[in-house]
């Protein structure tokens, strides 16, 4: 089996078990203010890190290219309260146009 499939199956089993755990463990086990705060912060920190790496990393180096223009378009669209799909494909369109010019 390829490493990619192994990764997919590990992510699948893990994410499912995390969901089942929430419905199964007694309330008091995880009901700690610090645990809840960490759970709130994880998506914010990770998603921001993912944005940075996705837009600026080119292998092991940093690069400024059409992806940054795409992200700029996404910011404008989000501020205009555009729906998710419009944001995603709007960013792609801007980056594609920038490359075509």
């Amino acid at each position: 089996m390829s490493a990619l499939w192994v990764g997919i199956l590990v992510a699948s089993a893990g994410c499912y078990l995390l969901k089942v755990a929430g419905l199964s463990v007694p309330q008091r086990v995880l009901a700690h203010p610090v645990a809840e705060r960490v759970a709130d912060l994880i998506p914010v920190g990770l998603l921001a890190a993912l944005v940075a790496v996705q837009v600026l990393a080119d292998g092991q180096s940093l690069a400024i290219d059409a992806r940054l223009l795409g992200l700029g378009a996404a910011v404008v669209l989000l501020m205009a309260r555009a729906p998710f799909l419009v944001v995603v494909f709007g960013a792609a369109l801007v980056a594609a146009l920038a490359r075509a010019i």
């Binding site: 490493a3 990764g7 997919i8 590990v10 992510a11 699948s12 893990g14 994410c15 499912y16 995390l18 969901k19 089942v20 755990a21 929430g22 419905l23 199964s24 309330q27 995880l30 610090v34 645990a35 705060r37 960490v38 759970a39 709130d40 912060l41 994880i42 998506p43 914010v44 920190g45 990770l46 998603l47 921001a48 890190a49 993912l50 944005v51 940075a52 790496v53 996705q54 837009v55 990393a57 292998g59 180096s61 940093l62 059409a66 992806r67 795409g70 992200l71 996404a74 989000l78 998710f84 799909l85 995603v88 494909f89 960013a91 792609a92 369109l93 801007v94 980056a95 920038a98 490359r99």
Partner: protein, 227 residues
Amino acid sequence: MIPGDRQVVVDSLGVGIATGAYGVSFGAVAAASGLDVWQACALSLLVFTGASQFAFVGVVAAGGAPLAGSLTALLLGSRNTFYGLALAPHLEVRGWRRLLTAQLIIDESTAMGLGQDDARRTRLAFRLTGVTIFVLWNLATLAGAAAGQALGDPRAYGLDAAVGAAFLGLLWPRLTAWPQRVVAVVGAGAAMGLVPWTPAGVPVILGGAAAVAAGLVLARRRAAVQP
């Protein structure tokens, strides 16, 4: 139908359709990241939690090890555990029903469920939103991945830029207050700084960890200032 339930049904279907449709972008992004149609569909069927799926393909697309992608997906998926904890007293599911219900726990089904004023409507909104998204998300993933593969070079269509926009779109609604914004800036800055020094996949995990640590310090400071 009991009066008032109608509104719950309409709202749940609305959220379900809007969310399910953006599975198209996941499928297209997965194909652009080098996954085949089966792999994209397996992620939507089995992982079924959007941010984790995007994170997995994002790390793989950046050249990271698939297991680094899995770890990132699991860290993002940990919030579903807390959603389950909050939902459990209202859902009251046991045995095999609990195992099926668990897979429906995601941001949108939880928000719709917990937004109701009694347990019966919580169950209705949670299930209807969850099932609608599950069905549409998987169909949309298949369509997006097939289209993405047919298109060829993803860069020519800017699909590599779409991944960053997708993460920003998932992050945006969480940036409602200053502590969260600071945490986001720390996460992005730390990850960017780590890119030249660590293998692909690692900057995201360490950057995210640094951001969470900064957020906890910030919260403690604020607690000290405002007793």
